[in-house]
């Protein structure tokens, strides 16, 4: 029991993932800055942001006070549970609860749902536009993401438990080195770009048109929790991809290398693409990306 709580709160759970995620956020800002010939912020920048936000005044709209304040924690709780399960699958020695893929898929929708609930409760028109965009984006990217996960399940001979998927890859090689696996990896990479909410899919936060979109009414601690959610997503989703597609060698050094690779690709996509409109994003996800994912599934069934 103590071990479970420790796992949830400290090692692969909350504290560890928050620290890694905030460092990843810094990496994102630093890479963006270097690409624009700037120097960029120091490494502790995102920690300073979070600590600063906890000391600010919390302003709450007069409508729906409780929902507004509780919504960020909903996303954080689900997300930390997901990182705990994923960390447990990546380091099997940790033991404890090992969940399956379906739990993780559901838990990863929690941050988006918490954003939608919080934005709707704030009663700001710009936030409600942001919430409706976030909802459409979730509908758009979940379909190809789940198709690419189905590809993995077919390749792993029907295993849906995370540690079975890892074991299968340890014995037979990573899934990315097959046609269907490579296609599913590309699809999943595009989908996690939208899940984290980086450009070109930062449609719900659209700083130029919606100011801060879904986060517009949040200040102080709840805003810090949302920033933390985003940071943890930036750690948890690459870990998810690593477990699904690149799990041949999960020693710490290799994991760091794989993380850096995935982060670099995500940040480069972020810095080289302008934001899409929501209708363009939906057409993109339900058109070419879904077709690609279906092709991956068919190839996996054929055994390629």
């Amino acid at each position: 029991m103590v071990k479970l709580i420790f796992n949830y709160l400290v090692f692969p759970g909350f504290l560890f993932s928050a620290v890694i995620g905030l460092l990843a956020c810094w990496l994102e800002r630093k890479v963006s800055a270097r690409l624009q010939w700037r120097v960029g912020p120091p490494w502790y920048q995102n920690f300073a942001d979070i600590i600063k936000l906890t000391g600010k005044e919390i302003i709450v709209p007069s409508t729906m006070r409780r929902t507004f304040l509780l919504a960020p924690y909903l996303g954080l709780l689900g997300l930390v549970l997901a990182t705990t399960i994923l960390g447990g699958a990546a380091r099997l020695s940790l033991g404890g609860f090992t969940g399956d893929l379906i739990v993780v898929i559901y838990l990863f929708i929690m941050p988006a749902i918490s954003l939608i609930i919080g934005a709707s409760a704030s009663g700001n028109p710009l936030a409600s536009v942001g919430a409706s965009r976030e909802m459409k984006l979730v509908l758009a990217y979940e379909l190809p993401l789940i198709l690419s996960i189905i590809t993995v399940i077919i390749k792993a001979a029907g295993a849906i438990r995370l540690e079975q998927i890892v074991f299968y890859q340890v014995s037979y090689g990573s899934f990315i080195f097959s046609f269907s696996g490579a296609i599913a990896f590309v699809v999943a990479l595009i989908c996690i770009q939208a899940k984290i909410g980086l450009a070109p899919f930062d449609i719900s936060e659209a700083e130029q048109e919606l100011m801060a979109g879904v986060l517009i009414e949040y200040s102080g601690l709840p805003l810090a929790i949302y920033k933390l959610n985003k940071a943890i997503l930036l750690y948890a989703l690459p870990l998810f991809l690593t477990i699904l597609f690149l799990a041949k060698d999960l020693s710490p050094l290799f994991i760091i290398g794989k993380f850096l690779l995935i982060w670099l690709v995500i940040f480069l996509i972020k810095n080289t693409n302008p934001r899409l409109r929501i209708d363009q994003a939906m057409r993109f996800f339900w058109g070419p990306v879904t077709l690609l994912a279906i092709a991956g599934v068919i190839l996996a069934i054929l055994g390629k």
Binding site: Y44, D49, I51, K52, I216, L223
Partner: protein, 149 residues
């Protein structure tokens, strides 16, 4: 100086308000974020929503239409929030002093912490003004004195 104030001085999020300026100060403010000056090195960011703001950077002579909106924006900002008057118009109304639609300068309306003179102020001047604002924040905290609204 406690941890939160220390963090605040390392991460200032600026909300830029134009109260009827001629756009010249605004261009210089944007200059601070270009590769040449790059204030993101110090954790300073321009943000879109006033709810996230640590500093209000106000440019322009305060015309009659702008005054109630400016008060509203200051009310909406979470405290502690510093107010920076940027450009000679915001300081002393400049050439609009006796104009029919400009009544009083900014510091009669809001508690201004830092004044940045210039028409327009150079990006260096704006950065040095922000640094002065940080010093003021530290000082306020050291004396245990809370700024009045």
């Amino acid at each position: 100086m406690d941890l939160k104030t220390k963090a605040l001085t390392k991460s200032i999020w600026v909300f830029h308000v134009s109260a009827g300026s001629c756009n010249n100060c605004d261009i210089e403010i944007l200059d601070c974020f270009t590769p040449r000056f790059d204030v993101e090195r110090f954790g300073i960011q321009l943000i879109g929503s006033v709810r996230h703001a640590d500093a209000l950077l106000i440019t322009g002579a305060m015309n009659r239409k702008a005054v109630p909106r400016m008060k509203e924006i200051y009310r909406q900002a979470p405290k502690p929030c510093i107010v920076v008057a940027c450009g000679i118009c915001a300081l002393s109304q400049h050439m609009f002093r006796d104009s029919y639609n400009v009544r009083e300068p900014l510091d009669k309306i809001l508690p201004v912490d830092v004044y940045i003179p210039g028409c327009p102020p150079k990006p260096e001047a704006i950065i040095s003004g922000i640094i002065k604002a940080l010093d003021k924040l530290k000082e306020n905290n050291n004396h245990g004195h809370k700024k009045q609204d």
